[in-house]
């Protein structure tokens, strides 16, 4: 069965939705698109015509940075309304996906279990029940998913993974493609253009969650051994079932990307997809050091995120920063101030071999629908991914 470009690909472990559940999810998708395309752009008009002039009148100068803009905007009713609507859309999104997963919970658990026994694609799954979930994931439920990535309510739970896969599709309003794989596919496209002679043999995806970005690596490099790690067992169980269902041989293990059990120099490509902003300053340093240790000479590490604030004006940075304060993303703000060259050097890389780039989205079909801005509630809307990394 070929994926249709207007809907999520219904592989065997994707939760099914009743007609009403589907309609509820479709409403959230439309609601988010309406906010991103109709309501959100006018926050800038409100800023330019009301908030900024008022600030200038009071202070005798324009706001200096995104923080001053945020404080000024917090008192504006249009901004308050947009923010409250956006936060509500996020909560409704999780709820709309949770309901259908809760209804077919037992079936999803047993289907995933069956796939992990049959292993039609030959992948593996290693869980570590003693792994300590890092505080940056237990202190808040990242992007408001109730229970976060890691919470297991029942034995062999896969619910957080099943909810996440459907919610990511709705969150991105389909812009990650029918397989939710645009971030991985875009990174691969960038890599092939930048390092045309590079054919990785051992690939590691950090914080792989449902492996939606991992699978395209196996598809593009079928001879490579592809590995994925995550701290969350229910994500990995779901990811394993999903990979096996899709025929992608991926080796998954429950590990913290800060301290991995692989041998020195054992990978030639290490990637992460919108992982870094969900960690911490210390964790990021540890992750970069691990990447240096694990890469063989000539190997490449690439982290994909939304664009760094240094490359945008203060207003755009303020809008993209919305998630830090309103969507349970505490490290979002600081992670957007990372200096890739400095981070590479600190980890042992030659800073002259560090890089950063804007990689165009690989998913052409969704391009026309994009809002072409990076903004709260619509991280896929830009049509580009920001990536940075280094070659060892």
């Amino acid at each position: 069965m070929q994926p249709q470009d207007y809907e999520q690909f219904a592989h065997a472990v994707l939760p099914e939705a009743t007609a009403d559940e589907f309609a509820r999810q479709e409403f959230v998708k439309s609601y988010k698109l309406h906010l991103a395309s109709q309501v959100s752009p006018k926050t800038k008009t409100v800023y330019e015509t009301q908030v900024k002039p008022a600030f200038e009148k009071e202070h005798g100068r324009a706001p200096n940075n995104r923080h001053e803009i945020r404080k000024a905007m917090n008192g504006n009713n249009y901004y308050q309304t947009w923010s409250s609507l956006l936060r509500t859309s996020q909560e409704m999104m999780w709820k709309s996906c949770q309901v259908s997963v809760e209804r077919q919970w037992a079936k999803l658990v047993s289907e995933a279990k069956k796939k992990s026994i049959d292993k039609p694609a030959g992948g593996t799954l290693k869980l570590d029940p003693n792994l300590k979930i890092p505080r940056y994931l237990t202190a808040v439920d990242i992007h408001c998913q109730p229970g976060g990535y890691h919470t297991e309510m029942v034995e062999d739970d896969v619910a957080p993974g099943a909810i996440f896969e459907r919610a990511v599709y709705i969150y991105a309003m389909g812009q990650l493609g029918p397989m939710n794989d645009d971030i991985g596919a875009s990174t691969i496209a960038y890599m092939q253009e930048t390092f045309p002679d590079f054919t990785p043999k051992r690939i590691l995806d950090l914080g792989c969650s449902t492996a939606n970005s991992t699978v395209p690596y196996k598809e593009t490099f079928p001879d490579a051994d592809v590995f994925g790690v995550d701290v969350a067992a229910p994500m990995l169980r779901y990811a394993h079932a999903r990979c096996e269902t899709l025929g992608a041989e991926v080796h998954l293990s429950q590990q913290n990307a800060e301290h991995l059990n692989f041998e020195d120099g054992s990978f030639d490509l290490i990637v992460s997809h919108i992982l870094i902003h969900e960690t911490s300053t210390t964790a990021f340093r540890n992750i970069m050091k691990e990447c240096y240790r694990l890469l063989s000479p000539g190997g490449v590490v690439i982290h994909v995120e939304t664009p760094a604030y240094k490359d945008m004006d203060d207003y755009d940075a303020f809008i993209l920063d919305w998630d830090t304060y309103n969507n349970n993303e505490p490290f979002w703000s600081k992670s957007h101030e990372i200096d890739p060259s400095q981070a590479a050097e600190e980890a042992g890389f030659d800073p002259s071999k560090s890089f950063e780039a804007m990689a165009p989205s690989a998913y052409e079909a969704a391009k026309a629908k994009r809002t072409n801005v990076f903004q709260g509630g619509d991280f896929g809307g830009g049509g580009f991914w920001y990536l940075y990394g280094a070659q060892k």
Partner: protein, 119 residues
Amino acid sequence: MPNVLSPEDANLPKHSKGMRPQFFHDPTSDKLLAMVMALAGEVSVMRDRNDTLERLIDAKGLLDKSEIDQYKPSKEVIAERDAWRQEYLSHILRIVDLDAGDMGRNDVSPEWQAVMDEV
């Protein structure tokens, strides 16, 4: 660590851990907005369901879809719908009635106070 509950006996967590930001000066406004959008969502779900019904009925040849748009309610049907809407509005506007209605007056009468003192 997972407990031993099976999905039949378990519930998924319904709220995310972390502080919910307050956007408006009055937190009630944030709650009302969330309720309005939840209701808007349910109306949309009903609208989709109705649309499905009309399309299925049309596809099965039981009814031409345009007949629904051309339907003229009779005097009796109009009267029934009028009555239903009055009842419907009285449910929705119950809170307004509280200040002026004859049942459950929103005041503290001597009779009410006497009972309260007694209990």
